[in-house]
Symmetry: D2
Subunit: 410 residues, 4 copies
């Protein structure tokens, strides 16, 4: 029986847990050590540290304090790991905390970060998803049920000083191109009280907090990649930058679509991972590795029938963009939402489905100037009814009696 | 036995074939008519109309006359089709022309359009791929063999006047933002001799040619989507804009990766499609359809093990981009190329593999400011050897004795 | 373009073709030789040599002359092949003859061989299946459509004298336990005019015909295995018994279920194979091979949702059999037929579906005395409608207006 | 959080648990009731009730007391269920007991029941399999690692009196054909102390025990089907024979191959199921159901590459059997074992792999007299090394330093 090396108490403040942190910094102390070949369990808070509750009121999503995110469990030291190695992580299993068999999906207010379709859904909304073993469904989004494709949204090793400096420099350069933008172009380090630097205390904590990178973006080390297929049973190869590697993880998702387009984003949950670690010495140079690589799990939901929506890089106003995959994928998503509305879903429900179901987002064409082409693959088997187009037109799958709760901006 | 409604003679000039055209315009006459429920065959030139030859000299790729592309077979009229309908196309089968059991992949010179990685591969290169039944392999790229995922890169219905005008207006607006750029931001209509307007002759031909949209980009009607999964056995629903629909198709690919990153692009071939057409009357409004949608084939290569490479929207110079999926996908591709080089492949061979093999490109994260995250999924079973990372480092899969022929810019 | 080494003329009598035979004997001359590494095409008659016609009259199935079957194309010699080697066959592609884009399925009269459910369907019936590219459907069995899983029902190398003698001895011993049984327990050699010994003539022909093994059963060399997954794209390793190997093949099927329960059996067709051959010298002893082994194709229909029926080894009369998988599989098939009848199919249509669709038959339990458990996996996606059980009971998928033509015993 | 309705204490004797039983009888009291739509958890002993231990000594397998098996948890009553209904069971999840993260596979002595290959492996052997999240591996069978395809080997509803009588009558009739056979042709009811009749006590218990059917064979109600695909996420439709249905389950397997050929048999474990129940009123007649039917899980290990072994119904002595699938499957299994021995495995290790890995057993041909053809599908991805045949012959995957412990018959 694998030992649980880091526990979290969902009723306690994450800041009270010395094995949790929410910024990236090489000085965060490694308190937990394992040897190559060990397997063990790690518990994790949900990404917000418990700010969202299981009810029908979206005001907690509207008022969420984002500088707190993401609460990660770690860093874990691996004996013998040195900069330049590859840390091999076998994700043996992932599950929800026994006392929290539910998760949440939300759209942030545009004033608080928004999401991929924030211009279309500018206010805070929230759906609650109940877990039933391997499956999930929502009282706010009827007519769909998915098998979980459970994964950590965020996982990676501590940066070294040089990498941290590079991150801060390049993100600040971008931020400075439009410093007044809401939301900001990047989230720069802040020394405030929301920064949780793990076991670091006092002046050392303050110094690190002032320059510790936010956990929001994915970066060279992996980090907040939000890759839905980095799931139970997959095998990941992470670059190592500091002695001991310092692996941290969190932001668990029960299910998510490619792009995590709702931003909050997936079906967010608290839970645990069961992992095994090993090393490939000097693996970065041996294999020319700069970012993590991984192999997918032999176990994942088999949804093999899809309805596929295309989008091109022309926006709703008819403006032509040059090979812009983001615009194309946004149009593909909007096309899927319009389609689902014909079957009785509200726009918000359709958006929530695209954010939480194992939809695929493919970069289908990226060279045929000036239009990029992106495709959104919607698995038809998650619907309790038939989505196929036919001569008789769509039959309603839901009756419109419920919708995703919305909390208006104050 | 299905009738062949449009034949092409690969030894003849495509301009001599009245059932072929290479521009989009509502005035192109529909000469071939079918009824809903009919199935039939259509033959197609390769996209260049035979400009590329089966040899080891890339000068034909370097000197290719791109204003000629793409030679499409059609337009085909469907009796009873009216604007607003959906034209349902069952792709019953696709194959190579008996007399041309090979295809080509190329990188264009940066001066002539380039490709997704043109800054890294700026000169013309060409690889030839032999077909062996359902499989293909190349004397220029040893150690890999794929099952074909055969599809039309380009298929769609004729635009009406209003749509054509919208296309031309928005593309010109983009072009005009940087009219001197090489390659151009868009390919605008030209009235030159390369325009083939089907059966249209004389003044009518010249008038249409002067405003006929180039076939290069994908647009609302589908067109040059280059979606690798729109393959044999898939079912596609196309918007109809003109009476009779006017369906045209071409640019057949034996195999291609998501993004068609080499631009020329897939394994290009001449061949035939066997299709069935039917109609959903007023389907566009019934289903809220703006772009084609489709369902994938029940028959496609099963490559279920992948090595997955991540890329983020920071370029090689360390510049930070804001949620730019293109930059992220380019980095994922470059990461895969560096990896393959460790196994003995040249950069050009690795690039050719990414362009021709059924690699997947996923939009993995698009909300975690400022970094987009894209993933490149490389199927491991196409390699005759083991690509998995291990403690002992990579073992060469190829000996480096051959490379992809290059024709230097003149 | 691969060369066609053996052609068949469907309008000519197979006995006139010296590269066709319908018995196994080491003396059948090898007229066609290839080298290891060669790829080439081979054409084949349907297994009956053209006795069944595309009409709505089953009398040809009732009156079929079974001593003629199966007409095989070959034997093909592979230079350098010696007894003890493994002959590796890559099935690069398979297709129907251009002039015969249809196939047939039949139930034989119980008096003429019957089938797996002959006690339930004792008289001759026939359904015709039209090919539409990769798909097939039947005017006699509405409401279903399958993608082809095309394969040779029969393929293998010539036996040597010792193996032929062993076959004849053991089959005669079985036959002799009940020599008057109709149909016979085995089909023993006969020297009659239906035996086609390839290029062998005169007395040599008569001698070989008198002892040539019938092609009906699968044996050590492979032969009439009727394995639906030995399909386009698979790779097979055959034992070699005679110098040159002497590979023959035929009995092509467009689609078939596990067990080929209708006996005639699959969707039978005339067509061609495109194959490549190579050798593993002394492969039989190196790998401990007695029967062929194979690897499945990377390309096959993806039907991933099934309705699974169980059967146990107790027959309809309530008699208990000891771990008898045949009885169990028969009960599973009968259970599926009863189920399909609730959706409007006739018993004969349901039986034809089980024989022709890519159903799976699994040996699920074979140790829990006294009952074997077998499962019949029916792919739900082949039906144009919903087969799932629900509270409201079955909805008819077909209206019963057509059935499978029957020709009463005379 | 789903409630656990039946708990088991692995350190206590199963006979002390009133919600456990090991015989089928309509009089076994239903103590636990649920309503249609409820989901809940049920804990289960391993099938032997804890007789096998995690060590390297097979004497516990040799000395196992088989009259005790199988310990089932139940019967569970479903309010409103009546004879003729279908009980729908959604298997939401299955897992191992936290305190027993391992399972066992064994071959029984031929004197004590044997297994499918008992003539080749006549003495007791045992392998222990450790669970690592979703995966398992064994110190006794190195070089393989599987993802679990976890399922209940045994599940079904209580028979009514009429069905029980039919079972007993037909099995006794078979038994009586050879009453002295070892092992017996069937296991008839016995009134001895090993019979555990749940909450039934005193005379009522003795009366029921004397006629309660053994749990060994699968029967009309499902029961000991040992179907590997009736796994987490599948949906099963059970016939109901008594008011309240009386659903019982047990004999959990972490992984198993088709046929469960080792008899003991799969990787046996103690654990829990999370299920939901609902009803289709009068479903048996609505759908013509006699045995359970089910739909497979959307989540299951994806092992898509196989090495496929054929077997025909001729035994090692050269005796010809008439269309006997058992003989054919046994030969296919023996062929696979010979093959694996060339890669360094002992025969016992190879046999253990076939019994525990998700191998498929297909009924490939069952009409080509006199030979049945069965195929054994061995997933290649479970091996840490390459199993493909090649010109250079097999490379050892294991060094032969360990084997499966054997306890000689006393």
């Amino acid at each position: 029986m694998a030992e649980t090396l880091i526990s979290v108490d969902l009723s306690a403040n994450p800041h009270s847990n010395a094995n949790v942190h929410n910024r990236w910094h090489p000085d965060i102390p490694i308190n937990v050590w394992v040897a190559p070949g060990d397997d063990f369990k790690i518990e994790c808070y949900d990404w917000t540290g418990g700010q969202i509750r299981n009810n029908d009121d979206a005001s907690d999503v509207r008022d969420v304090e984002l500088p707190q995110v993401h609460y990660l469990s770690g860093p874990i030291g691996v004996k013998g790991a040195e900069p330049g190695d590859l840390l091999v992580v076998d994700i043996l299993d992932i599950g929800a905390k026994e006392e929290m068999q539910w998760g949440f999906n939300g759209f942030f207010s545009k004033k608080n970060g928004g999401g991929f379709l924030t211009d279309y859904f500018p206010e805070a909304q929230k759906s609650i998803w109940d877990f039933e073993g391997m499956f999930t469904k929502s009282r706010h989004v009827p007519g769909v049920r998915y098998a979980g494709l459970i994964h950590p949204g965020l996982i990676g090793c501590l940066p070294d000083r040089k990498m941290l400096d590079a991150w801060n420099a390049r993100e600040k350069a971008l931020f400075d191109t439009n410093p007044d933008r809401v939301p900001g172009l990047a989230n720069l380090p802040d020394g405030g009280p929301t920064a949780h630097m793990g076991a670091l205390k006092g002046e050392a904590r303050d110094r690190a907090a002032a320059e510790g990178a936010r956990t929001v973006p994915p970066r060279e080390h992996g980090g907040n990649c939000d890759i839905k297929d980095l799931s139970r049973g997959s095998k990941v190869y992470f670059p190592v930058y500091v002695p001991g590697a310092g692996l941290s993880m969190g932001d668990l998702h029960f299910s998510q679509g490619d792009g995590e387009i709702t931003f909050c984003g997936a079906i967010e949950m608290a839970g645990w991972l069961h992992i095994r670690v090993s090393l490939i010495k000097e693996g970065m140079s041996k294999y020319g590795i700069r970012n993590p690589i991984f192999r997918p799990s032999p176990i994942a939901p088999k949804y093999d029938d899809y309805l596929i929506f295309e989008g091109i890089s022309v926006d709703d106003a008819g403006t032509q963009y040059y090979l812009d995959v983001n615009v194309a994928y946004r149009q593909a998503c909007l096309n899927a939402i319009e389609y689902l509305k014909k079957f009785g879903y509200s726009g918000a429900q359709a958006y929530a489905i695209l954010g939480t179901a194992p939809v695929q987002g493919h970069i289908s064409g990226v060279v045929d100037v000036p239009n990029a082409c992106a495709t959104l693959w919607l698995p038809t088997d998650i619907f309790e009814g038939d989505l196929t187009p036919g001569p008789d037109g769509p039959k309603k799958l839901v009756d419109g009696s419920v919708d995703v709760p919305l909390a208006p901006d104050l």
